[in-house]
Symmetry: C2
Subunit: 336 residues, 2 copies
Amino acid sequence: MNKTQITIKDIGRALNISPSTVSRALKNHPDISQQTKDSVNKYAKDFHYKPNTLALSLRMSKNNTIGVIVPELVHYFFSSILSGIEQVANQQNFNVIICQSSENYENEVRNTKALISTRVSGVLACLSKHTTNYDHFQEIIDSEIPLVFFDRICIGIHTDRVVVDDYSGAFSAVEYLIQTGCKRIAFYSSPIHLEISKNRKNGYLDALRKYNIPIDESLIYVCDTREEAIIITPEILDRPDRPDGFFAINDHCASGIMYAVKLAKLRIPQDISIFGFSDGELAKACDPMLSTVEQHGFEMGKNAATLLLAKINGENQGQFTNKIVKTNLIIRGTTR
Amino acid sequence: MNKTQITIKDIGRALNISPSTVSRALKNHPDISQQTKDSVNKYAKDFHYKPNTLALSLRMSKNNTIGVIVPELVHYFFSSILSGIEQVANQQNFNVIICQSSENYENEVRNTKALISTRVSGVLACLSKHTTNYDHFQEIIDSEIPLVFFDRICIGIHTDRVVVDDYSGAFSAVEYLIQTGCKRIAFYSSPIHLEISKNRKNGYLDALRKYNIPIDESLIYVCDTREEAIIITPEILDRPDRPDGFFAINDHCASGIMYAVKLAKLRIPQDISIFGFSDGELAKACDPMLSTVEQHGFEMGKNAATLLLAKINGENQGQFTNKIVKTNLIIRGTTR
């Protein structure tokens, strides 16, 4: 037994690089230069580095549990993702424990620490919409716990990822609105630093471009909840050049638009068409029922859990998969 | 250090009583006879029993995490309970991890084992609707992990409990239907072995009795999802003596009734009144918006977490609180 067993952190300090760089160098990660890999490997060999014995012993006593971090459980999309995750996990005799960030960065940090300390075998995560610093996720990787992002992903951290085909979903929805006669289409988005917002906005813009509809930035709003939509929509409907179509980033937001449109005594879909994104019980409870982009949360959950379990079982080390789940349009009563 | 340290199980075997009886006797629980307490205490003293050192050492290394077991995250009621739990827990610097039983007994058993093995400091649980055996919850207590039930509780296990005032909520809703002219009121219930079903059914029956409306068992159905309601309601609306009012055990079920009533070209509320139970975004997305019993999930979550944290902090040992959260009626467009 070597009492002075060195750690990844020791190597990092000695070579003046971060522990995560050391970790990735030891795993032969493509992002790390050959020079760095060589010096890390030499140092590790010279000082008899062995993989973190604490992490290893924890791994040995692992409890076959997957931790999931989701922004908001109240959304049907996330609960259907969880059902997909649970189906795959339970088949392989893994438990699933869930943490909710409530769209709050501090909660998300707390969640990652809790999952590390409860010695989960792997983590599936979807970013809170207010997260712009990702160190807490790097900590999961540095703790040698496999991590897979789903839906709202982090570009800066190298992991497997599963995303909805946001661009195509948005493009098709907006194209449908145009093809059914809408000429001025408003877009209600989540905060624009999120990848899903960027991709859906690009889909929206490209559909307008394809049909030579001028882009009007004054029709693009950051608004992604029912409550916000109820507040901001009346003013937009009062504009002399009011939109004749709305594309909302989720169904909750779309249901708020519907509320405001009815309140303004405008007809859905004759005066105003509305397209959502998600599809769950809420979309069907709306009257008329909501046209929306079905994003197959259950499939996404199954894919994410499958990728994570492969990593937990030691497969595909050093490779990262980017899985895209296709969407399709569900046409109901809120569009012509 | 006594190598042959005896355990609660040893005492139970020696005295031919269950470990949980021993555990409760040692805690001076009111349900245990004085005679049993005396013999347990004498045996424990004679054989130098000390509280489970493993559980104790785990407790020492506790990770300030509360585990929550819920039936279905997709329901607004449960997600609002979780928000209440998280608010109280986070204030006291506790993390919250959530397990979903998906209304499945086997999953619930798996969840309890996972929470015990991840060394949570305490457990909050709401029964799956198919659970009729409660040994897995007794196991939590035998592992000396504080347990509090909320909403769907277990009568047989002695814990703190937080319930909605189901009886009064149901009574008031049905009374409102009667006062606004309904004479034949159908009741859609969850499985009747659940306490919430029994209490809401009693509220329904007592309201009918108060107004001398004959009880017709053929108007009581086990049906608690939107999908089931869509399937069974058309037939009920076809009856020559069809109901003129529906009281549904949750809003999802009520939204399914609304769908079927509209399909049958009957008017809401002129021909048929509908009352739900829960209140969330779904109720507001319905058109007309759903009259429902608001059951204050957030308050329930706060109460449950407060009771649990008190037990975790060593307060109120041997005492069990039965907290009842009041409901109130939200009258909207589906009632006259």
